[in-house]
Symmetry: C2
Subunit: 326 residues, 2 copies
């Protein structure tokens, strides 16, 4: 059904029918919050953040929510609400938007947040989605990028480079479909990589695990641009140097296998691929034993004195200074 055939109110009704307790027809949305508020907005643009030729629409809805919530995980905050603003091009039909909202709903249910409302506008230049998350934080346990101190351990959750390799698998499939490559494989054996690309998981579970174990994180960021750039951001915000050991980077077997298959250096994928949505954080050295016992957290380096640079120590022992690059 064409979007122009359905009124704005009827469209909102259709899209939000399965969202429990949604009842907002107003200009703005009301919400309740305990404690200190936290908010983040993530803007995703067609052709930059996603390619609708190989990004299924329900995954786009899911991913837009999950990646926004990841910002709150990176502050050790608890998400409560989201609102969704979309710019819709003429080729989108009502059913496509329903599929998008299905993905949004799955994410809201998984992460326990409520849809507050949003904004729907026509777009003449690509599909646009901006998700705003609102939640709360405890001032005593909120974690910022600033706070890393010399000798703190640098830790990262999960593994790195898998989402990037998932993207490469999707791109290769698309090229085969377009006829611009003679690749014949199917995507079935790259399920894990595709999941990492299409349905990232904000790591609230990691913060829960650390909290239960009494581990205090001194600084934190989520890995969106690749650990090399996100580590530099931590280093700059905290005003300290850092040493990151390439050989310590946690890399899944599937990531390495795919990298080898397509001739990409797997460490480059892990360092610069991005979209991992893992947590990169620092803890005081005293927690070393506790962290080492934990499943799913790797110690990848340590914090050095103020005035020293952020360094990557390569596998062959060279020191490479991490620099900001757009």
């Amino acid at each position: 059904m064409q979007i122009s055939e359905i009124g704005a109110n009827a469209l909102i009704d259709r899209l939000t029918a399965s969202f429990e307790g949604f009842d907002n027809r107003d200009d703005a949305a009301l919400f309740d919050l305990k404690g200190m508020g936290v908010t983040a907005t993530h803007l995703m643009l067609e052709g930059v953040h996603f390619d609708l030729r190989y990004m299924p629409v329900h995954h786009l809805g899911y991913k837009a929510v999950a990646t926004t919530l990841s910002n709150l995980a990176a502050m050790n905050a608890t998400p409560a609400y989201i609102s969704v603003a979309i710019g819709v091009t003429a080729q989108w039909e009502v059913e496509d938007l329903e599929t998008l909202y299905k993905g949004i709903r799955i994410a809201t249910e998984r992460f326990g947040v409520k849809l507050l409302g949003g904004d729907t506008a026509p777009s003449v230049a690509g599909f646009t989605i901006a998700v705003t998350a609102i939640g709360s934080a405890d001032p005593d346990t909120v974690v910022c990028r600033k706070g890393a101190a010399p000798n703190d351990l640098i830790c990262v959750s999960g593994n790195l480079g898998a989402a990037y390799m998932g993207l490469k698998a999707l791109e290769r499939e698309q090229e085969a479909y377009d006829g611009s490559s003679d690749y014949k494989h199917d995507l079935g054996d790259r399920t894990y990589l595709l999941e990492r690309q299409l349905t990232p998981q904000p790591r609230f579970d990691i913060m829960d695990m650390l909290s239960l174990a009494g581990v205090k994180t001194t600084s934190m960021i989520d890995v969106t641009k690749g650990i090399a750039r996100d580590l530099l951001a931590l280093s700059q915000a905290s005003g300290v140097g850092m040493k990151l050991y390439e050989e310590r980077l946690p890399i899944d077997y599937e990531t390495a296998s795919m990298a080898e298959e397509i001739g990409i250096n797997v460490f480059s994928a892990a360092l610069y691929g991005g979209e991992d949505y893992e947590l990169l954080f620092t803890v005081p050295l005293g927690f070393k034993d506790v962290i080492e016992q934990m499943e799913g957290i790797a110690i990848v380096g340590y914090v050095t004195e103020p005035g020293t640079p952020a360094l990557l120590i390569t596998q062959d022992g060279r020191e490479v200074e991490l620099k900001e690059q757009e």
Copy 2:
């Protein structure tokens, strides 16, 4: 300066240097809120909501903030914070973004809100700006679209159609500049209309005036799509009929003069032009005398029984049912 020449952190520093108290380098932004929270997001897309050929960039920044805050005015809420997410195309330079942020800053200062943070992404398909506003409301005085009751008076602040006529003036100027029209006038004598198009004012002042006079509004919306459509939204949300009198529509002399000059029916401009950002609201009949004494508020109709339609009563006495149309 090219945006690629400057690091992400240095860019944020430059853009936010003149925002008092801005200090956010984190994944999400912290805020304090008293009472019930209120939030709204407004997404503006190049080619749909603005044309950069005749929308000066600092006005775009200002307007994006002002129009988002208007949503909070329409709930009788008090704005406190904004965050700004932008998608930036390759032709934008650092100085352009500084100009945009200058407009944003002027709006934050005028309306007493604090910039929390945001998201900056590259865009391959038009400039994109999404502003999220967060504020607070008093549960006893918050006003929704739902709540209008039979015999309530329908009121609107300011005047209608001026922003649309401002747009027409800008479009005509652009056509002359392109050489596609032989129009020779300058814009100097259309200042008021241009102001209404470029620097809309969320009408917090009207809510203050009503509050001081003890007037209770039963339902409210801001006029963004034109009073005809926004009245219909009030009517639908409240489940009542409405009668809107065309002859009662408040229209500025400049609007009428411009409409005549370019051969547009001024009542059509007032009914359907949109972007007025005035407040359309209902009050119990008992406040009639108080409202009639007030400068800048017009009584344009009244609420009818549930089950009756939303009607426009034209100047020649015909009844036209208002219908939703995209």
